[in-house]
């Protein structure tokens, strides 16, 4: 059942207008890459003192963090640590669940300016056309491949057929799927294999020309070969789209991440940047174990 948020609050103390400078009001964690390269336009998305509640339960605690352009930010943590909820704050998809309440600031870089996604978008649907999301299990619609691609372009963006056709082909090529489906675009999308379906979902998002890509454990339901294909794709795509993803696999996180974020119990525990060195697998596993006992 679709529900809208009962109540969306914002921090009444801080300024209400979209703040374009770096988050000086935010508390410490993961504030910026390193002092040298803290240029505002390299920030693709920023969260400041974000708290998310579902009913009485607090799922995210005082989250402050930044994601950068031309980079893949990977969130890892045990189940229940709030990774998916954090991901969903960027396209306000949490509001589809009952009893959601969000406080704090969330900003996304749109058309060159960091825009507050709550105050600038009275209707979340408009925001979601700018931020693309791919889910864990491929969520192809029960229609043909072509229609899967054209439906959002036609109805969410209101594009005309010639424009749509161009975008569809481009997006399918970017997702590495064009050669495999160009001759059967009218076949049901469900006839594709799992890996192909996931790439279709990716293509569907790419066709919208999003400002950012959100991926929630995109290879969790795929086999190794398909997973590697998607990982390679992400490696290519990150130059054009900032990517924030949740990963279920530490190995994948270490392969892909330019910034690695460890979460536990609804908080950000630690961040690492690739240029400063990522931890190795054993350290990460140990840390994950530790997050279990600190509640």
């Amino acid at each position: 059942m679709m529900t809208d948020t009962m109540h969306t609050e914002h921090d009444s103390g801080a300024t209400a207008s979209p703040d374009m400078t770096s988050g000086t009001a935010c508390s410490a964690e993961c504030g910026s890459l390193s002092d040298d390269s803290a240029l505002p336009q390299s920030v693709a998305a920023r969260l400041c003192d974000l708290n998310v509640f579902f009913g009485k339960r607090q799922v995210l605690n005082d989250i402050s963090f930044e994601a950068h352009n031309h980079a893949v930010t990977v969130l890892i943590g045990r189940s229940g640590s709030g990774k998916s909820t954090l991901l969903r704050t960027f396209n306000r998809l949490n509001e589809c669940f009952a009893g959601c309440r969000t406080t704090g600031h969330a900003q996304v870089l749109l058309e060159g300016t960091l825009t507050d996604i709550h105050t600038s978008f009275p209707e979340p649907a408009a925001l979601r056309t700018r931020v693309g999301m791919v889910f864990q299990t491929p969520d192809v619609l029960p229609v043909s491949i072509r229609r899967n691609m054209t439906l959002p372009l036609q109805h969410a963006l209101g594009l005309t057929p010639p424009v749509i056709a161009v975008r569809v082909e481009r997006a399918l090529r970017d997702a590495g799927l064009w050669d495999e489906v160009c001759d059967r675009l009218d076949a049901p999308a469900e006839t594709l294999s799992g890996g192909q379906q996931q790439r279709l979902c990716l293509a569907r998002s790419l066709a919208m020309r999003p400002a950012m890509l959100l991926l929630d454990e995109p290879t969790a339901s795929l086999d190794n070969v398909s997973s590697r294909t998607i990982e390679a794709l992400l490696g290519q795509l990150k130059d054009r789209y900032p990517v924030i993803m949740v990963s279920h696999s530490l190995g994948q996180a270490l392969r892909l991440a330019d910034r690695l974020v460890l979460m536990g119990s609804g908080r950000i525990l630690r961040c690492w940047d690739r240029q400063n060195g990522l931890p190795d697998m054993e350290t990460l596993e140990l840390m994950l174990e530790e997050t279990a006992c600190c509640e």
Binding site: M1, A126, L127, G132, L141, L151, H155, A156, R204, M208
Partner: protein, 296 residues
Amino acid sequence: MSRPATYFVRTAVWGAALIVPLALAALTGVLVTRGAGALDANLFFGGVPALQAMTGRIPVWDGIWPACAGTLSLLGLTMLLALGPGIGCGIYLATSTASRAKAVLGFAVDLLAGIPSIVMGLFGFTMLLMLRRTIAPNAGASLLLAACCLALLVLPVLVSTTRAALESLPRQLHLTGAAMGLGKWQTLRHILLPSSARGILGGILLAAGRAAEDTAVIMLTGAVANAGLPAGIFSRFEALPFTIFYRSSQYRDALELEQGFATTLVLLVLSLSLLAGASKLQRTLEQRWQGIRDDD
């Protein structure tokens, strides 16, 4: 482990498995044996050539064609009146967020579903009395009145099946639509409704079946034994169930009785076909989304 309990249940099972099909076979058997003989054009058109009878050029006095036409018109008008509110209400219940309103409405729909059909007919009768006393002193029982009451009768069926069809869709479809940037109505129109269309259609057929077979409502709101083809929505009409009811006590000779049996067969076939269609549609929907099978 107590043996007697299982034996007891087993007796009940075998008893039921024998009695019920037997009873049903006996009842259907008497209908078929005493009525199949009269299943011919004469039954429908009473000696009048088919084409002229169907177009109404020559009135049919001895056939059930007017009743068939009446039932079909009644069905059409009822569904016309009930589809909008029924499906709309079902969509509302499946997609709304106001939990208090939903609970109240859900209870109201359940109450509506449990109202005996004669009470619904009584309500139609009271409406008629009210109309006569106030704005339309010449109002009479009519096709329109009967259709309104029948629409109320089948409303709960439409609401429940629409709601169930939408709620049985995987939750992810809502999220997919939202994540694509589609608004609530767009998600509904382009993703949710097309995916649940079969179930909703099945519900429509079920409602139609219910409307076609009901006697108590139309008895009090305009059905008569002899009225010819439906002359408009403000006039009285004939209908198959009422004709059957009337025939059960008012038959003049063996032929009329035999035709009565044949009429029951006609109504039976109509009802069963509508049910079969509804069944087929709804099972396809179930299997597609949940993979549930009966012999599980």
